[in-house]
Symmetry: C2
Subunit: 207 residues, 2 copies
Amino acid sequence: MIQKYPSGLLESAVDELSRLPGIGRKTALRLALHLLKRTPGEVESFGNAIIALRQGINYCGVCHNISDEAVCHICSDSSRDTSLVCVVENIKEVMAIENTGQFHGLYHVLGGIISPMDGIGPGDLQIDSLVQRISKGDVKEIILALSATMEGDMTNFYIYRKLSDAKVKVSIIARGVSVGDEIEYADEITLGRSIVNRIDFNDTIKL
Amino acid sequence: MIQKYPSGLLESAVDELSRLPGIGRKTALRLALHLLKRTPGEVESFGNAIIALRQGINYCGVCHNISDEAVCHICSDSSRDTSLVCVVENIKEVMAIENTGQFHGLYHVLGGIISPMDGIGPGDLQIDSLVQRISKGDVKEIILALSATMEGDMTNFYIYRKLSDAKVKVSIIARGVSVGDEIEYADEITLGRSIVNRIDFNDTIKL
């Protein structure tokens, strides 16, 4: 259906909004009309916050997480265990793991995973800087916490190979049936992995 | 769950994005991370399109539709029937009716409907300008095309009363069972209205 917009300004705003992931032209029009009901000052601060985000964003020089300072608040926190580094794909995973309150080490944000289909190779990710970081010798263990997909497995294996000469323990997060999930609804691969990777019941009592 | 953002810039962008209707903090973060993957130039043109929309927007002096010119392209189209005016709530309805290709008159955009619950009274809407427009005598018929809600009915009645002295025919769009809908699934009120407002079958043949 061809939609004729009565204004060029409206059309370009709808064009831009509909380029966001998961937002179609109908939603974009709704958002644009909503913005028209706000004050010019509010809309200006909205637009400027977006522009400032992209222009002013910095990455931590150590872990490559998004940060306003040269070293992020996690890397500069002296109470954290610097011998343990969790390798994640993106900042969203850092936030998710931080929210568990179960991890007190540092992170290393790759900025993606190896995906030949999307043209993302090891060179596009922060893998070299991870190897360099490990080579300094302070890190005793790295935990791979990437997605359980083919791309994630590929990236895990690539990093594992790259670190084969380094004196560092490489762990991977446990896969298994989710806490609270019923066994009969778990998928077969997850259930299989949770049986293969079964743990001593004595260990669970200590948790 | 308290989410600690690693950057103030990211947090304010997420704050602003999550103020949009239908966008929560999780989606806002996803959108912000998406914007970080675009070039600074692209993000700047996105932000500026939004700011320009609010600052530069104009409304047609005749029908109050959004327009870049003083008189919109519908009002200035000499091929349209200037004796027929369709009263709508917002620009979205103008676009929907235009897309039907069945209406060749002009519009009058109220900018909302009377809604005491939301603090919107007749003074907040373009009703006085409608009465003024009708008083010039060129318009022979107005068609009320507002939502079939209590607020819509209230607004219809208010406009009808306001125009009681004017020499203008006031029509209202037909309510009835949607084309293609099965009768058994139509709601009772709609079905009732479509029976009360039944039309001569001879008239349908002409359509």
